[in-house]
């Protein structure tokens, strides 16, 4: 980096790239530390960036409207002395960093569009469109709110701010503040109110800014939402969806990076769903909103910006309790959910080079669990690896492992192995965080271990 470059800043923990929406300075302008110099649009919000040093703008490297600018890319240069400059934009640089959405044929170039997109298949009848997981979630909420006046959404920043992660973008404008409702930062209280509203025959969607904060409200989720149907002899249904990002984001440390899949899956009376792709997100969320039971819907912040082909039909739903075989294989079964599905597919691709043909199952639902699909796969492959981002101890993998040895023991040729997060609170430091999270290489190594 040159000492007089202004770089594309990271404006959130998971931001990888952004759009230069607007320059607020021009070449030759004097800037002082703290002056606003540009508007940057991320997938979450539009934010202004400030100069951090004094000087004069000597060059604007990228044009307004340029998309897909990676963080730490130089976007402008400044000089300590006032000089006269002739051109604003360096045309030769522009192409390197400007990648419009239409030009993405080479998927490897964009970190948020992975090779495994190609694996997703749909029936011939489905018209699909490439959309982000975030858009898929928004579409699901929007379509269900249109279809049913009893559906409403509440949570922190869901309305005027349009969602802390932009999932609820545009909903306030469309449905008004009676149905798109900002809450105070008081999870215990607003969760209980949501549950009461569900008892009152409404169909609330309660957004947790992250599931870490649902711990404030877990008594209401377990003791009120999950158990009341049973305790009332079947009278008191609670049609509610608790949704939001779960698991690790990026560099937000222990209190904001935990997977709660095994916590909620432990409880009878709840359904627990965890989408991976846009298709999953849309189809499962629509089913969840229509379901008469309380649903814990575990999203993943890192996945929000990733794009997948997704059916556009309003009628498209995915049944809760059914897994999806994302890749057919014969040598080993890898089950995963949420972000780990992508890692499992990457691992499967790598394993193929070693002559190991892995079958990858996207669980989609954790309660009820599609054990049948897993067992059918194990009968074919005779080997099983489970993947989850959360802690291994008492985890989803432990449960699946136990169920498989109880119900398909004779079909196993090797012990079931688990890939999971390390048994530590999530560290902040980049290198430690990476060590704590399960990686594609962990899946590959375990697979080789039981396929040798």
């Amino acid at each position: 980096m040159k000492s007089n470059e202004i770089l594309m800043p990271a404006l959130s923990p998971t931001m990888e790239e952004g759009t230069l929406a607007k320059w607020l300075v021009k070449v030759g302008d004097k800037i002082s530390s703290g002056d606003l110099i540009a508007e940057i649009e991320t997938d979450k919000a539009t934010m202004e960036i400030e100069a951090v040093e004094d000087g004069f703008i000597s060059k604007l490297i990228v044009d307004e409207g340029t998309q897909g600018i990676k963080i730490n890319t130089p976007i402008a240069e400044f000089s300590e002395n006032e000089e006269i400059y002739e051109t604003n934009i360096d045309e030769s640089n522009k192409n390197v960093i400007s990648i419009s959405n239409n030009e993405v044929d080479d998927v490897e170039k964009l970190s948020n569009v992975r090779e495994y997109d190609k694996v997703v298949t749909f029936s011939a009848d489905d018209t699909t469109k490439k959309i982000t997981v975030r858009e898929a979630l928004r579409d699901a909420i929007l379509e269900e709110m249109k279809a049913d006046d009893d559906v409403f959404i509440m949570g922190e920043e869901v309305a005027e701010y349009e969602g802390a992660y932009k999932v609820t973008q545009g909903l306030l404008e469309q449905f008004g503040d009676n149905r798109v409702i900002d809450t105070p930062i008081t999870e215990h209280g607003f969760t209980g109110i949501g549950i009461g509203a569900a008892f009152g025959n409404l169909k609330p969607i309660v957004e947790f800014m992250t599931f870490n904060f649902s711990m404030q409200a877990i008594d209401q989720i377990i003791n009120s939402a999950a158990k009341t149907l049973y305790m009332s002899g079947g009278q008191m249904g609670c049609p509610i969806v608790f949704r939001g990002p779960n698991g690790a984001a990026s560099r937000v440390a222990a209190q904001h990076s935990q997977c709660f899949a095994s916590w909620y899956s432990h409880v009878p009376g709840l359904k627990v769903v965890s989408p991976w792709s846009s298709e999953d997100a849309k189809g499962l969320l629509k089913s969840a909103i229509r379901d008469p039971n309380p649903i814990v819907f575990l999203e993943n912040e890192v996945m929000y910006g990733q794009s997948f082909e997704c059916p556009i039909s309003n009628e498209f739903t995915i049944p809760i309790g059914k897994a999806k075989v994302e890749k057919i294989g014969s040598d080993i079964t890898i089950v995963a959910f949420s972000i780990m599905v992508g890692k499992a597919l990457e691992a499967a691709k790598e394993l193929e080079k070693n002559g190991i043909n892995a079958e990858v199952i996207n669980l989609r639902s954790l309660r009820p669990l599609d054990l049948e699909t897993i067992i059918n796969s194990v009968k074919k492959t005779n080997r099983l690896i489970t993947c989850e981002e959360g802690f291994g101890y008492s985890g989803i993998g432990a449960e699946i492992s136990s169920l498989i040895q109880e119900q398909a023991f004779d079909w196993l040729d090797a012990p079931v192995l688990r890939v999971h997060g390390k048994d530590v609170p999530m560290p902040y430091a980049e290198n430690l965080e990476k060590l704590a999270l399960p990686q594609t290489s962990d899946i590959i190594n375990k697979a080789k271990q039981i396929c040798s």
Binding site: F152, N178, I181, T183, P184, T186, H188, G189, F190, T191, G192, I193, G194, I195, G196, A197, A198, F199, G200, N201, L202, D219, Q220, N223, S224, T228, L229, Y230, M231, S232, G233, G234, Q235, M236, G237, P268, G269, K271, P292, N293
Partner: protein, 338 residues
């Protein structure tokens, strides 16, 4: 509305003579409801002692005037939610004593098919939404029910009962804030019986004025003597009218006293026998029946009513005991709506 003179009573509530202005039918109705709760709870205590009722059983004896007074001011379509001391609330909502008693004894004929027990009963039909076993958890739920009334543009309000113990729970204040912020038609009734389990208000609460605890959120409030059903009724009429017409929350603190322990297994060492005896002297039923007698009604007539209620309660107890236990298939039913 009955033929009573509300306005006079408001300004002269200490005068028993004024209270005689109340319509006798109303007084008899209140008496009947309070007696039903009293006799029902006595019977429940007896069945508990016989081992017919298990687990926790929280009796409402002494506090009858609270729910009866409040309920008398409600409209048919209003909803109610409370804690685990809930038998009285269910009875005034019109739930069948047989079904309630059968639930206490864990029978299939109970309101929750024997799967909820004393603390967890519900009747959508009667607008009773529980019956909640976690201290304070019903408070946001009640506000949520009020939210549903407002959302659906119904004229209903939700009455949310909780005790002095629950009044110290954090979620209560989260709910006060939201109820005031969103203008929810919810009446919070704090049944202050002076003891949260075995700890007195003085030992658990930095201040003992619970009604004003919503003032920081701009919630109007009132405190009323819960040992006088007519006082409760009058305060409830005012409060409920406010909630309904203004579409806002209101806090009504009702000073009451439970004559029995927190639950059946409570030895009651935290208060003196003298204190309980003194409170019993001024029990809510006695106060009401005194008024009824002043109208010319006689002791024998009151006794007759009492006897009829005892018969009904005995029938409920017999029904409960004679009912079947839940079929074993019930174990796995009602977990999820298929």
């Amino acid at each position: 509305m009955n033929t009573m003179n509300m306005n006079n009573k408001q300004t002269d509530k200490s005068s028993p003579k004024k209270k005689s202005n109340y319509d006798l039918d109303l007084l008899l109705k209140l008496n009947k409801q309070m007696l039903l709760i009293r006799r029902f709870e006595e019977k429940a205590g007896q069945l508990y002692g016989m081992g017919k009722i298990g687990g926790f059983c929280h009796l409402y004896i002494g506090q009858e005037a609270v729910v009866v007074g409040i309920n008398s001011a409600l409209e048919e379509h209003d909803t109610m939610v409370t804690s685990y001391r809930d038998h009285g609330h269910m009875l005034v909502c019109g739930m069948d004593p047989k079904g309630v008693m059968a639930e206490l004894t864990g029978r299939i004929t109970g309101y929750s098919k024997g799967k909820g027990g004393s603390m967890h009963m519900f009747s959508r039909e009667k607008g009773f939404f529980g019956g909640h076993g976690i201290v304070g958890a019903q408070v946001p739920i009640g506000a949520g029910l009020a939210f549903s009334h407002k959302y659906k543009k119904e004229k209903s309000i939700c009455v949310t009962f909780f005790g002095d113990g629950a009044a110290n729970q954090g979620q209560v204040y989260e709910t006060f804030n939201i109820a005031a912020l969103w203008n929810l038609p919810v009446l919070f009734v704090i049944e202050n019986n002076l003891y949260g389990m075995g700890t007195s208000v003085q030992r658990s609460s930095s201040t003992d004025n619970f009604a004003i605890r919503g003032e920081a959120f701009g919630i109007k409030n009132k405190t009323v003597n819960g040992m006088d059903v007519l006082d409760v009724r009058e305060a409830a009429i005012e409060a409920i009218n406010y909630c309904r017409s203004k579409q806002k929350p209101f806090i009504l603190e009702v000073k009451t006293y439970r004559f029995r322990g927190h639950s059946m297994s409570d030895p009651g060492k935290y208060r003196t026998r003298d204190e309980v005896a003194e409170m019993r002297k001024n029990g809510p039923l006695k106060a009401l029946q005194k008024l009824i007698l002043e109208t010319g009604f006689n002791e024998n007539q009151l006794k007759e009513i009492d006897n009829q209620i005892k018969i009904d309660v005995n029938k409920a107890a017999d029904f409960a005991i004679e009912s079947e236990l839940p079929d074993e298939k019930e174990l796995l039913r009602d977990i999820i709506i298929e």
